[in-house]
Symmetry: D2
Subunit: 235 residues, 4 copies
């Protein structure tokens, strides 16, 4: 307390070792990337729905967390497995990352399966991904997994004619692979990061909205402070 940052202490608790300055910066960025995504994600809707019936804070958070699963926020683990398997194949077959990406894109097309970590319900290009990659590169963390994640997007677009973005789940997965973390830890990062966002939504529901209102999954408008007011906060 008073010495370690919260995110460094989290990393220590989860891995048993204290992060270097570069790793620390990347972990901060991973956590910041997933704090919130507005009022439309299912976990936010579930948390607000619980709050609107009078749920205490912890119960509303729990309802939100229980709504983070395979199809929402829970793709990091599958993405990590996919990336670890892919890069292991580069080594075992002695092929480059780009060759492996093409091979896997072709196999996936044939099996008509979806690649975990690619595509997003809202974003045609997930704005969080390039930023996270940039931070990973600037801090010496981006390696073969980040490289593969980009190569695979290109291979997929070439193979199918449909350009699916690497979404934030996939981007986090690539970074966590380059950090050498186990796949079991994958979904924890999204959940740990999203809890504060859920808290903010629950607080707003309790203090600004009528109880038992019908909560629309789409009809929402941001009326908070201007983004510009957050500038200059680099630390």
């Amino acid at each position: 307390m008073g010495r370690a940052r919260f995110s460094d202490a989290i990393f220590l608790a989860l891995t048993g070792s204290y992060p270097t300055e570069g790793v620390s910066k990347v972990v901060e960025a991973v956590l910041v990337s997933s704090i919130d995504h507005g009022a439309t994600p299912p976990s936010t809707l579930a948390a607000r729905t619980a709050a609107s019936t009078g749920a205490p804070l912890n119960a509303a958070i729990a309802a939100g967390i229980l709504t983070i699963n395979a199809h929402h926020g829970g793709a990091v683990e599958d993405s990590m497995k996919f990336f670890y398997t892919a890069v292991a194949r580069c080594d075992s077959e002695g092929i480059s990352v780009a060759e492996c990406a093409e091979l896997l894109a072709a196999e996936l097309k044939q099996s008509r399966k979806r690649a975990p970590g690619y595509g997003h319900r809202v974003h045609t290009d997930d704005p969080r991904t390039p930023r996270l990659m940039q931070v990973a590169q600037a801090n010496g963390v981006a390696g073969r997994y980040c490289e593969f994640s980009a190569a695979f997007r290109a291979a997929l677009a070439a193979s199918t004619g449909r350009d699916l973005p690497l979404n934030v789940d996939g981007a986090i997965a690539a970074v966590l692979c380059d950090l050498g973390l186990p796949t079991e830890i994958a979904n924890a990062f999204f959940i740990m990061a999203r809890v504060p966002g859920l808290v903010a939504h629950i607080m707003e529901e309790r203090t600004r909205e009528k109880v038992m209102r019908r909560i629309s999954p789409v009809d929402v408008e941001y009326d908070g402070p201007e983004p510009s007011s957050f500038e200059g906060g680099d630390r």
Copy 2:
């Protein structure tokens, strides 16, 4: 097993004594009254929202249960306290149930508070209430608490000019008071009854709906079997 009915075994587990035939019939009716209320209650929406992200059955049920609170399904406890206090006052002040109802309606009007168990978001007259009262009367369970619950509705309408129905929470509360149950047990009945209904919704969400769909809190239509096909099932 093979001898006790499920609802009788529930009553035994909760109270430590086996219900008489009359009490058994009333408890069955209380539980049946709350199994489901269509796709719009918040607990149903939360459970379906969790299910649509890929939640396992138990997690989706839990999300639903966490959305049963003061403003939805959770008014039974407050109603029981209100009824116990009211009828105790009849005794301590030596007044009739009707006089006490008028007294309390006047006090409530002055304090601008709401009476727990009266009024409903959808129903101007909750169809479950008269049926439950009928069953309680037919089986010798309806007593002074049921009597008070009706007298208070009339007194409230006379005093405020607005006729609020005794809702199903309030009706269950009156019946549980006449059964002499402790207020701590109140909300359990709604939750135990609603779990099977949540299960039905979750099953439907998983087997008939697309994952991650935007779930409307109002736009739903029933397309199940006709009610008439359930006739003749008396047991």
Copy 3:
């Protein structure tokens, strides 16, 4: 309300059709079988632990339900899949239930896997199983799946020399298969049945125990009414 029993209304909500008298009796028995198993199951411990910190009823129930998973109360689904696959093989290979049981016991032994629904942490012979089978037979519900479940226990004992009992998860699974229910519904029965049991434990924790006590997973003693006092309750 006032006509359908709670368990019949549950069956109707889950399957869309009203149970016959025989099916009704069996469903009652399935639900009664799983209401409670004392103070040591993990779901009970989790619910009591939450209650001891001051959790409201619904949150403590939710904590309990979240602790019903593959290794506790959640084996019904896998058992159903196993039984459905096994009996389908009898048909496709034109062999008897007993032959199929021997075949599968041998294959299982070779693959060193465990059969879902067999064995119990406490019981060497689960007392709920023979009773449930008896009710299923007396009501004309027991069929090839119940038959297979018994044949497989014998085949397993003959093959491995270790006699593992069909536990209550497995027995429920066999019965639900003979009722022709889908596997997706499997775990719902255990959860629906256990919720009232959890309620009873939570009520007891709140009314009889000190807050924040250290809850032992083993050191408990029953001090409720004598079992004999429940006799004569057949309905």
Copy 4:
């Protein structure tokens, strides 16, 4: 991402404004203070119990969060209310913080109530409290609420002869009051901080322990890295 620290982004999400450097340091310390408290807290036991039955990560976290209530981790809100009321009284009655503390200690003694935020099941002196106070002072955040929290401990000891430490809930509450935060937000800090700790316990349960083991609430031993290996991590 890449600019704001995780804890600063949390503060921004919850309050709408970006923290100053001093506030940032204090918020980091508040969050670090509550990450973990070993294997004995009820929330940790509930999360491990769920995990040991095969619960997915999010369900086990939810079980843990549902076990954070009034008697464990949930006293921050009541403490903040107590401190806000106390210091408001200094102003309204024109008395000093020390006088007010004596007054309130006397009143509390007479009403035989407990002060929220004082006393701990394990610690006779909560080691987190002086450290947090030190950080709050070093960063110019400690004000009248921190001052009152210490004065009240002394007044309580003088009045009752029993020296109850300000526990970490109370220390966080005093600091959050000096930050001017609303009481509704109080419990969020403990929950947000404890989630990563729960994740670490759940990971350990899944990777190192047998499923369905009987989890003792006391019989645990730390076998992780030496504390000294974390030195030199100031950032």
